[in-house]
């Protein structure tokens, strides 16, 4: 694919607001997970909750979008000079030449969960103040971001469960390559709701401890929430040799099962191979793989097989979900930021939560991480429905 420059980026997660908060937590290897106190949930699990989300207010003209998910989006968009970077690019290329591609799995469904507790006594209708379009609907967060940034180009929500925001990068890259747009705002926004907490609980996939990817005692995921945004631009080069570029994307389907991965990691391997091909890179040029690494027994086992088949045990890899939690549809975007920071800061983050790697897993899993030069990173995101996406990021000076 045609490489895209990441010219601005921002995020809000359980680690705090803005890139610096995430950078500091990754450097220290600290986890943002805490015992679940979300809403009325009564579940023995840990979550990664964004602090202070309830106090966020949307701008007056966009108040009808008010819900937890769009508040998270608003938090993210207001940080790290992101809005002004988008406006500067819009002034240069035109607001209609910037697309918006946002990955989400549940958007503002929490609003509907709450509305179902307030149904009209006679007839059972939802309360009149409930705004389905601007809160619950999958598109609401993409529509919010487009309106909030004053953009006028193409726009879509990408919703393929936990690969959603990784696939948003792939979609944006195609739109730029086809000449439909010159730049894209790409992001992932997913926030805590009872559907996902009780849903993963019903599948017995929630860990009772902070999640432990690749660990012999791993027992499930810890759900997190996040809003992460990137401005991607078509450029021939950039003055900064350390600027990070999106170099490749690979997508595949397991064609296997709705909620279980292909046991041999077939789809995962396909996605990784395609991402390398798309980037024009051989496996041995990748310095670090940020794994999907959710911490469920079957997910990690399947991904381990896929990594081994493609990289052997040579590549350093680990999962940062013990730090951020599994932010579901936002995971691809959050881990794109981990990839960018790994390159910018020369840091393979620690795998928080993991103590002893499962002896049945054989990839080169790096629990401790550490400071070292990182030029090229692969990031994996796999979701329900067998939807897989791998992305490759690289330092400008390390592009081929």
């Amino acid at each position: 694919m045609r490489p895209l420059l990441i010219s601005a980026a921002t995020l809000a997660t359980c680690l705090g607001r803005g890139v610096e908060a995430t950078r500091a937590a990754l450097a220290a290897g600290t986890s943002g997970l805490a015992p679940c106190r979300f809403e009325t949930a009564e579940l023995d699990t840990y979550v990664g909750e964004i602090d202070g989300i309830d106090e966020v207010r949307l701008p007056a003209g966009l108040a009808h979008f008010d819900c937890r998910n769009n508040r998270a989006a608003e938090l993210g968009l207001a940080l790290d000079g992101f809005e002004s970077a988008v406006h500067a690019t819009a002034a240069r290329v035109g607001a209609e030449r910037i697309g918006v591609f946002i990955g989400t799995s549940t958007a503002g469904i929490l609003q509907t969960e709450l509305a179902y507790r307030r149904r009209e006594p006679a007839g059972g209708a939802l309360p009149r103040d409930f705004d389905y379009r601007h809160t619950h609907n999958t598109f609401s967060v993409a529509e919010y971001a487009r309106a909030r940034l004053g953009l006028a180009g193409p726009c879509a929500a990408i919703s393929t469960a936990c690969s959603s925001s990784a696939k948003a990068f792939a979609s944006a890259a195609r739109f730029v390559e086809a000449g439909v747009i010159d730049a894209a705002v790409v992001g992932g926004v997913d926030t805590l709701c009872l559907t996902t907490l009780y849903g993963f609980n019903s599948l017995q996939l929630l860990s009772h401890a902070p999640c432990r990817p690749w660990d012999a005692r791993r027992d499930g995921i810890s759900i997190g929430e996040a809003a992460a945004f990137f401005l991607l631009e078509r450029r021939a080069r950039d003055a900064d040799p350390d600027a990070v570029w999106v170099l490749g994307a690979g997508e595949s389907s397991d064609a296997w099962h709705m909620s279980a991965p292909h046991p041999e990691g077939r789809g995962a391997r396909d996605a990784m191979e395609q991402a390398l091909r798309s980037a024009g890179l051989a496996p041995d040029t990748i310095d670090y793989v940020n794994l999907h690494g959710t911490g469920t027994p079957s997910n990690d086992a399947a991904e381990d097989k896929a990594i081994l088949a493609l990289f052997g045990d040579a590549v350093a890899c680990n999962s940062t979900k013990g730090i951020t939690g599994h932010t579901l549809g936002a995971a691809g975007a959050v881990e794109a930021m981990v990839s960018v920071l790994a390159i910018r800061d020369g840091l393979v983050p620690r795998s928080a939560g993991t103590r002893v790697v499962d002896s049945a897993l054989h990839a080169g899993y790096d629990i401790a991480g550490g400071r070292r030069r990182v030029d090229r990173v692969m990031s994996n995101s796999f979701g329900f429905g067998g939807s897989n996406c791998s992305l490759v990021f690289a330092r400008g000076s390390a592009r081929r």
Partner: protein, 262 residues
């Protein structure tokens, strides 16, 4: 921008529209439109366990997509797919929200994994064995336009890889239907190939012109009420077997202009 494709096969399932072949005369204006509730067939292509659990959206998307690939005489296993829908499955969403509002929050694990927006896409890949990428988009009432744009963009970047686009929407039960009324299930699918070849070809561009209405009043009511039915002006154009153009609803401030050449 110039995005183009050849339409190799069409699928259509909607109220009074039982397949592209059967609906063609109506869409061309040569037979009257007779509304009747959408009939959804059991998805025979799925293994028995999955078939039993298939909801409306899965049935609708599979029937529509499979009609298009059969018409195009292509093996769906080799196609990348684009699924566009305003929402996930309404029945699952309602059942989950109702359970979560009750004293006993034990929701069904099957309902949960079938509640994701990409459930029909997941079942599509299981039914057809397609291991290529499946994109799943939502853009509220602009969902069909977003899907068409994504499909033609994908073809522009990878002209050697034909795609199937499936746009579908099914109603929510009450009370969600009151907040988002969709009167009935409607699905439309196209197998799209790179523009060189035989068959009708389309070229796509943005326009600020308002979206075109469907010629028939009954069909126009569907177009306005169901996001996937925003495709109807294009289907009417295709049914007439003549060159022409149609303006399709997209985001409102920008719409899509489709030029059709036979």
């Amino acid at each position: 921008m110039r995005l183009a494709a050849r339409i190799a096969g069409i699928g259509l399932v909607g109220p009074g529209l039982a397949g592209w072949g059967a609906a063609r005369e109506t869409l061309a204006g040569r037979a009257p439109y007779a509304p009747s509730p959408t009939r959804l067939a059991a998805p025979e292509a799925l293994p028995a366990t999955e078939r039993r659990r298939a909801g409306k959206c899965v049935k609708l998307a599979l029937a529509t997509g499979l009609e298009a690939v059969a018409a195009a005489r292509v093996d769906p296993a080799g196609l990348a797919a684009i699924f566009a829908s305003s929402s996930g499955d309404g029945e699952n969403c309602h059942a989950i929200c109702e359970t979560l509002a009750s004293d006993d929050r034990l929701i069904s694990p099957t309902r949960f994994h079938n509640s994701v927006h990409n459930a029909p896409a997941g079942y599509w890949s299981i039914a057809t064995g397609a291991t290529a990428s499946v994109d799943c988009l939502g853009a509220y009432d602009a969902s069909f336009g977003a899907g068409l744009l994504e499909a033609l963009t994908r073809l522009a970047v990878e002209p050697g890889a034909p795609v199937v686009l499936v746009a579908y929407d099914a109603p929510y039960p009450e009370p969600l239907n009151g907040a988002r009324p969709i009167p009935d299930a409607f699905g439309v699918a196209f197998v799209l190939e790179a523009a060189n070849g035989a068959g009708p070809s389309i070229a796509l561009g943005f326009t600020r012109e308002p979206a075109q209405r469907a010629a028939d009043a009954g069909l126009e009511a569907l177009r306005q009420a169901i996001p996937a039915a925003r495709a109807l002006p294009l289907l009417e154009l295709l049914a007439r077997d003549a060159a022409g153009s149609a303006t399709l609803a997209y985001l409102g401030d920008i719409n899509l202009r489709v030029e059709l050449a036979q």
